[in-house]
Symmetry: C2
Subunit: 358 residues, 2 copies
């Protein structure tokens, strides 16, 4: 059965990755053991971890000050781990409020220091990315959420705050070309563009970490993970293996620059249909529209459920909007083929025809 998987995360993975993983579960590289059964410090897994870290460095073109870590947990763990390591009591961090996930990051940071929310899109139901805001120059860092999965917004260009920039890139990492060296810390749950659930990528500048002025539980201390090459404790071996396979696939596609072009095409195909089809509407400001998560609504609300049913029959999966915002959401992560986007567009057209709008 051919399924068109628009899930927001965990989400679609390249077929090549799934075939490799399925084989690796039965016999990893001729070892006679499953990838699930090998030691995390042994000769089977060590090259996987090393390749995964090297691929991140290469694909993001990170300078030598950066360390690449694969850590337990997802972005929700990083929401507190970032300020635990970086925001001393009495210090201020600047945060941008661009949605539910940004707000969760803000909530956790407040447990550790002062938080200056320098802008918010809340009054507009987060349908745009705030533009004109000022950042206090003494703040420890500015935190942004580069792509907002629930609302379908994305920072088209990065702010230049004059202080260290920290980014949650969970839903658009390596989906477009960026100068990643402009950041001081980048984190991302792997389950959208770079793998499956159960591991977070953390890219952090050693010079940014410096000395912490509080006691940090060992497992939450970035410096401990750096000293131990991401194997301080038993890491999430399989999730790192999937990330490595996915990163290999991203490299084979041509890396971030090539994927950006493909992702632009996919997003344009779908936004064009939404803008031209009288049954659908995208409430997001045009300049802030996400290429990763296309959020839209039915112009005739009574057609929302029928359209979901229609999609189901076409094997189009995962386009229901987030439970907090409703409507539809089609996630177009790196692994999503253009053909599946075309299938969705055709379904929208056919649905419109069936409802007298063809």
């Amino acid at each position: 059965m051919q399924v068109h998987n628009f899930n927001a995360g965990p989400s679609i993975l390249p077929n090549e990755v799934l075939y490799q993983a399925s084989k690796g579960i039965l016999d990893f590289e001729g070892s006679g053991m499953s990838i699930l059964e090998v030691s995390h410090r042994g000769k089977e897994f060590t090259p996987v971890m090393e390749e995964a870290r090297a691929l991140v460095r290469e694909l993001m073109q990170l300078d030598d000050d950066f360390e690449v870590l694969f850590l337990h947990g997802g972005a929700s763990t990083q929401f507190m781990q970032v300020p635990f390591n970086l925001l001393n009591s009495g210090e201020t961090a600047a945060y941008t409020d661009t949605g539910v996930w940004a707000a969760k990051a803000i909530k956790e940071a407040r447990l550790f220091g002062e938080v200056d929310v320098v802008c918010s899109g809340k009054d507009d139901q987060y349908h745009h990315i705030p533009k004109n805001f000022s950042v206090p120059p003494q703040a420890r860092y500015l935190h942004i959420t580069t792509n907002n999965t629930i609302y379908g917004t994305q920072w088209a260009s990065m702010p230049d705050p004059g202080i260290p920039l920290v980014a949650d890139m969970s839903s658009d990492i390596l989906s477009r070309q960026l100068d990643f060296n402009r950041f001081s810390l980048i984190y991302a749950g792997a389950q959208k563009n770079t793998g499956t659930a159960g591991v977070a990528l953390v890219m952090v500048r050693k010079s940014f970490l410096g000395e912490a002025r509080r006691s940090i539980p060992t497992i939450l201390d970035y410096r401990v993970h750096i000293q131990n090459g991401s194997v301080f404790n038993t890491p999430p071996v399989f999730a790192i293996y999937i990330a490595m396979l996915t990163l290999r696939w991203l490299k084979a596609q041509g890396g971030a620059a090539a994927l950006e072009k493909i992702n632009e095409r996919k997003a344009k195909l779908l936004y064009d249909e939404i803008d031209n089809n009288p049954l659908f509407h995208c409430p997001v400001a045009v300049e802030d529209r996400s290429r990763m998560n296309v959020c839209f609504v039915a112009t005739r609300p009574e057609l929302e459920t029928p359209f979901l049913d229609f999609c189901k029959k076409e094997n189009i999966v995962g386009i229901k909007g987030h439970r907090s915002s409703g409507g539809f959401r089609a996630s177009l992560y790196n692994a999503m083929p253009e053909e599946s986007v075309q299938v969705l567009v055709e379904a929208m057209r056919e649905f419109a025809r069936q409802h007298g709008e063809g």
Copy 2:
């Protein structure tokens, strides 16, 4: 190639689990999607999570006060998460020092409150489990590590401290029959007896949690995970799936009582050989010997490396002792077949014959 996998963790899994998982990676239950691609809140994964939690409850025969959680991270995360939730500043917790992992738990607890180390096996290189110790009655809880992987010791019977009992059961959970209801909190990394790396099982009494007197980061707050049925954030979906399949297998074997008998037989087979073979010696006090991790040394140190090489030729994998203690360690977790233990015993005999001790 038939490999005899004595790895200490990540470690051997049942073949049935690996076959199921390999299929689920390609097409999960006829959904047309991989288990890696489905939503953690969708109709595919929800029954997996529910079955995993129900199986833990059933196999451990937990009473209704217990909640069963599957959380990101392993035991190393629990070392700090337990006192973060349960040890208020100014309160005392009692800890038993039975090895490196117990000592790590102690180190983290000290960040949160007073720690009373009520006994230690350190003077004896942790070759026994301390017996006569007293526990301060006002302590919040007593923490024990039921099995010590590095030294091959195991609590044969549980202490009865008169205060809540907290246990790290990472390396022997569900390998023997216990009255789990005597505990207030039990945690275990899954990668030894109940699955693969990347998830921890936490069984905690609601009545034990009560009110915390400090701010806890949301992702570390057990109460949040209880309220959200272990899906507060995207959980480690695949690791939970493997745990569920492994728990199903454990149930099919007859559960903890049946596995205890098998594990006793396997351990006896190997300890008998060590005690009878002049080339090998087990330094652990007989009454405290672990049925999960059998640690032993060569009586002639110059034969340590030759024996490891000999095992390699016999496809016996993972019997090198932990880097901190040396010697040999054979881990006999639930999924380890008796046949593999027999192969190891035969190898020890043959090796002795080759060295004039046959």
